[in-house]
Point group: C2
Chain length 283, copies 2
């Protein structure tokens, strides 16, 4: 396993970690100044600005864009809405290319309003991904399927395990083109009894495009916005990173923490210093 | 699939559904009077009373005890605590036998305080189950492993999928003695991409000992106490029950709803009438 001591160049900050409280250009500067090697910005902040200008700023600071967050949800109650969702993702993929992103993060979406058809929603996802894979190749930006924790199956993602994501990858991309893979996120996957074997299989297929770190707090008070800083929770982070790296992952370790009542209330500089410290000691 | 219309004798009420607001003897009477065929009481209410007396009351009312809730958590920080946990479960199994319970529900427990050793906790569970299986045979009460939703992996159950539970069953009980199996709970399992195949495998091995119904609310506000009444959420309940019955399950359908802000505030009679209505129409 790589030693992250003195290697913040191997570490990236997902801008959500700072709570989206400042303009993106300021956040980019902060992250670069703090010595991190990468950044993962969100569409709502990038699309508010001029994409080419953001790309230029990031490039000038030598930051790697470890992922572009994130897809428009795919499943829809009507076919025309589904088509619109796919098309929004195609546009976002072009922005991801402008940003030079290592991957476009696919959070696939939950059940359409009023639906109880989980397998139907999963089919809509696969069908959408098949279309997007074409665009991804054209743009040169890989799709990273991010399985979300099962507690989000209803409202955010019907894709819930690495094994499920890999099944989709194998079905749509038998030739292992390098444009369809997964983002492994500590928060979503740490509990999975099949974690080790799924990570190994993902690596074997060359499909690990991103690794997201945070922690699971023993007493989680909010299903969405109470993620822990690395070291404050129950996840064996070194063991998990070791699996991912043993499986061949050589990309950056990206910190992504949603924490409304704690880290989002703290000074962004303090948050970045804490991330830097924890990355070098407990991850 | 069985038609539940007019067949409340095929339906059971887990007493947690009523919020444990009344003495158990009153709850037993209510459930029997409402026409249900079964009941699943909790240890904390049974142990407050005289077990033999409760058993007598239940028997006199011709109620089937669809499950006795539930095990003491197994994983522990020290060996002596682990032994104590196992022994508490042995005592509870004897009470389950007195009650004539169809199974003893195993909610296996989360990580010990301060621990990050998930696989170690899982080993403690397997080891404990091996011991308890002996007692279960002696008492004539099967152990029903209940995989809990992955959002409880830290604090309530390191057993999180049916596939994982079945692996344990196969390892500890190759001969399929009938004393080690699973409780399939809608709330915990509905999201699982491997649900259908796991249910089929469980049925094939004769290991489905209980089926628990409720619903997953699209906007869940509390990780523990915001379960939905059947029909109010996003789960395709008929499809799930059909899988379970096609796999050979012939036991009762047990309603188990934790709902602090909604159903636990309503009159117990209203809750039971609603359960009866929904069981016969949407489950």
């Amino acid at each position: 396993m790589r030693n992250l001591k003195g290697r913040l160049d191997l570490c990236s900050i997902n801008t959500a970690t700072l709570g989206h409280r400042e303009p993106l250009s300021l956040t980019i500067d902060r992250i670069a100044r703090a010595g991190f090697g990468g950044i993962a910005p969100w569409r709502h902040e990038v699309e508010k600005a001029v994409v080419a200008q953001i790309a230029k700023q990031i490039k000038a600071l030598d930051l790697i864009v470890t992922g572009y967050c994130r897809s428009t949800y795919l499943p829809a109650a009507t076919r025309s809405q589904w088509v619109a969702n796919v098309n929004e993702n195609k546009a976002a993929l072009r922005d991801a290319a402008t940003l030079g992103a290592r991957c476009f993060v696919m959070v696939v979406g939950g059940l359409p309003e009023g639906s109880r058809d989980l397998s139907g929603a999963r089919e809509q996802v696969s069908e959408g991904l098949a279309e997007l894979l074409e665009t991804a190749r054209d743009c040169g930006v890989p799709l990273a399927l991010e399985p979300l924790h099962p507690m989000y199956a209803a409202d955010r993602s019907v894709l819930n395990t690495l094994a499920q994501a890999l099944d989709i990858c194998d079905a749509l991309d038998r030739e292992r083109s390098g444009f369809l893979g997964v983002a492994v996120d500590v928060y979503h996957c740490w509990w999975d009894p099949a974690l080790r074997s799924s990570i190994a299989a993902a690596g074997e297929a060359g499909r690990i495009f991103a690794y997201h770190a945070c922690d699971w707090l023993h007493q989680t008070r909010d299903m969405l916005l109470d993620r822990g800083m690395m070291g404050d929770g129950v996840v064996d982070l070194p063991a998990m990173r070791e699996s991912v790296e043993r499986a061949g992952y050589e990309g950056l370790v990206e910190v992504e923490i949603f924490s409304k009542e704690n880290w989002w209330r703290r000074d962004p500089g303090e948050v970045l210093r804490t991330c830097a410290n924890r990355l070098q000691t407990v991850v």
